[in-house]
């Protein structure tokens, strides 16, 4: 098993932390993991992306030309990464703010109304967890349980009371992707 994932959007949308939680989930499931961010000023408002690789064997390159799965949070990222999803791969995107929807037919395209869902949940900060939930449903490379354990590992203890809310968001995303 090897899953090569890119998550891309605006800085501030939780792109890097979503990747981090996914990577920690991989760690919980005893997988090999690599998390390679775009770093620097891009984190503040520009586009941000992170490559996460989960594998049951040694990971060579942390830098990739194509991906099994892309999670796309804005138009620029869709323009950049749609062509780089491997044939037969998966593209998850939030239609919110997308003017030109994906056109490829050789991949599985899954729109997830994550922004809408945050309105329902009345909490904008659940955004990236909803999308992560969608990813888990579409590509169950790690378990929901591993993600929650990963959250416990990455969140400082003072934020542990937020874990149930995040779990709810994850489940919501899973439902949206099905």
């Amino acid at each position: 098993m090897k899953e090569e994932i890119v998550i891309a959007g605006f800085g501030g949308q939780g792109v890097l932390s979503m990747g981090k939680i996914l990577a920690y989930a991989g760690l919980m499931d005893n997988l090999e993991v690599s998390w390679m961010p775009s770093y620097g000023p891009e984190q503040r408002g520009g586009t941000a992306n992170v490559t996460v690789i989960l594998s049951d064997s040694r990971i060579s390159s942390p830098v990739l030309d194509s991906y099994d799965t892309a999670v796309i949070l804005n138009q620029q990222s869709l323009d950049k990464f749609e062509s780089r999803v491997k044939p037969g791969g998966t593209l998850i995107y939030d239609p919110y703010g997308i003017h030109h929807a994906p056109t490829r037919t050789d991949i599985k395209v899954i729109p997830v109304e994550a922004m809408e869902a945050t309105f329902e949940m009345k909490n904008a900060k659940t955004y990236n967890m909803i999308l992560l939930g969608a990813l888990l449903a579409a590509r169950p490379v790690v378990s929901l349980d591993a993600v929650v354990r990963g959250l416990r590992k990455t969140l400082p203890e003072r934020h542990h009371h937020l874990i149930p809310l995040n779990e709810e968001a994850l489940r919501k995303g899973m439902a949206l992707a099905k």
């Binding site: 981090k20 990577a23 920690y24 760690l27 090999e32 993991v33 690599s34 998390w35 390679m36 961010p37 770093y39 620097g40 000023p41 990971i59 060579s60 390159s61 942390p62 830098v63 990739l64 030309d65 194509s66």
Partner: protein, 363 residues
């Protein structure tokens, strides 16, 4: 059981330094390596091992703090990124000339000048050919994984103390910024004052019970004596070249072509090679782990049985000079592929570059 952790390469450096029993870290913020100082500040080792952690007023001050600390026999280190490493060259030259052990991390970014904060390997010349003024070398270790970032702290310090010469971990922004699994070494106690005095009888740490004074200096105005000093440094470098060459090979048993790459580029090459091998193109890879001393002999052996060599670097062609020096005639053709300014090529680009030089290899 050892605990597997997930962290950035820069964070691993900080954890490994504490666990090595490092006595002091002196740094100055610069992207993409600031996590080293930030992590140390968060871990507060002065409360546990007694390690000193100090944010200096400049890179120049930081390396000179390293010089002052190393001169007293302590295990001290600094970290920076390319422009900051240029500023540190004064102190590094003094460390080498005074035969002091110390550890320096360069988490390279694209230059020249202020350049970019994105990954690069364009400080290869600076690191392996000395860097500052005078005839000297650093032991240069090039990590490709977060695990190696952690492991090379101990290796770098051990070699530095063994040969009384500074070592450098020459990483790039990718290895510094990426997160991977890492197993940290067990916590070692810092050396006691007695142990420091025993290990470093040359240290200027107060005479104590010593009868004579110790003087740590790089100054010798008598040219005849200064040449003797230089000959001694060179003798040390020859011993290092004999004993400390380290490298890793992949698919070299049957390779018809060879790639040479270090650090994170070696990993990107490896993926390119594995994809090409699926199609039957037999490429091998050698990854120098020590960039100085350079695996000259092994590269010559491997090159002798291949049809062509591609050196892949995040620069305009630096290590290729050492590869060319290693390979004697009759030699296969040696080409370079690199990207600059913080652009990191992906595996596809590398294999395309390979085929452009060796179209006959394409199946």
């Amino acid at each position: 059981m050892e605990e597997v952790k997930l962290m950035k390469g820069n964070e691993a450096i900080a954890h490994a330094a504490i666990r090595y029993g490092c006595d002091g870290y002196f740094g100055y913020p610069i992207t993409p390596q600031s996590e080293v100082l930030e992590t140390l500040a968060e871990l507060m080792p002065w409360e546990t091992t007694g390690m000193v952690v100090l944010q200096a007023e400049s890179e120049v001050a930081a390396i000179n703090m390293v010089y002052g600390g190393a001169a007293t026999g302590k295990a001290v280190m600094t970290s920076s990124s390319s422009p900051g490493i240029s500023l540190k060259q004064e102190g590094i030259s003094y460390l080498a000339a005074s035969e002091l052990p110390a550890l320096i991390l360069n988490c390279m970014r694209g230059g020249p000048g202020l350049g970019t904060i994105q990954p690069s390997q364009s400080d290869y010349f600076q690191a392996t050919k000395g860097g500052g003024h005078g005839d000297y070398h650093l032991i240069v270790l090039a990590p490709a994984t977060v695990q190696e970032m952690a492991d090379f702290v101990a290796l770098g310090f051990d070699l530095a103390f063994k040969y009384r010469t500074p070592s450098m971990i020459l990483a790039d922004g990718i290895v510094g910024q990426m997160m991977e699994k890492v197993v940290l070494p067990p916590q070692r106690p810092r050396r006691t004052e007695e142990e420091v005095r025993r290990q470093c009888p040359w240290a200027a740490c107060g005479k104590g019970s010593r009868k004579h004074r110790n003087v740590v200096t790089s100054l010798e105005l008598d040219s005849a004596k200064m040449e003797v000093n230089n000959l001694r440094f060179q003798e040390t470098y020859r011993r290092i070249e004999e004993n400390e060459v380290r490298f890793e090979e992949y698919y070299t048993d049957d390779c018809e072509y060879l790639m040479v790459a270090f650090g994170s580029m070696a990993r990107i090459c490896l993926k390119a090679i594995e994809e090409a091998r699926e199609k039957g193109v037999r490429i091998g890879l050698i990854r120098p782990i020590t960039l100085w001393p350079f695996p000259t002999k092994r590269i010559a052996e491997l090159a002798a049985k291949t049809k062509g060599v591609l050196v892949v670097e995040l620069n305009a062609g630096q290590m290729i000079e050492d590869v060319r020096l290693a390979i004697s005639a009759p030699s296969p053709s040696v080409h370079h592929f690199g990207r600059m300014g913080g652009i990191v090529p992906n595996p596809g680009e590398i294999i395309e570059a390979f085929y452009s030089h060796y179209p006959e290899a394409k199946i």
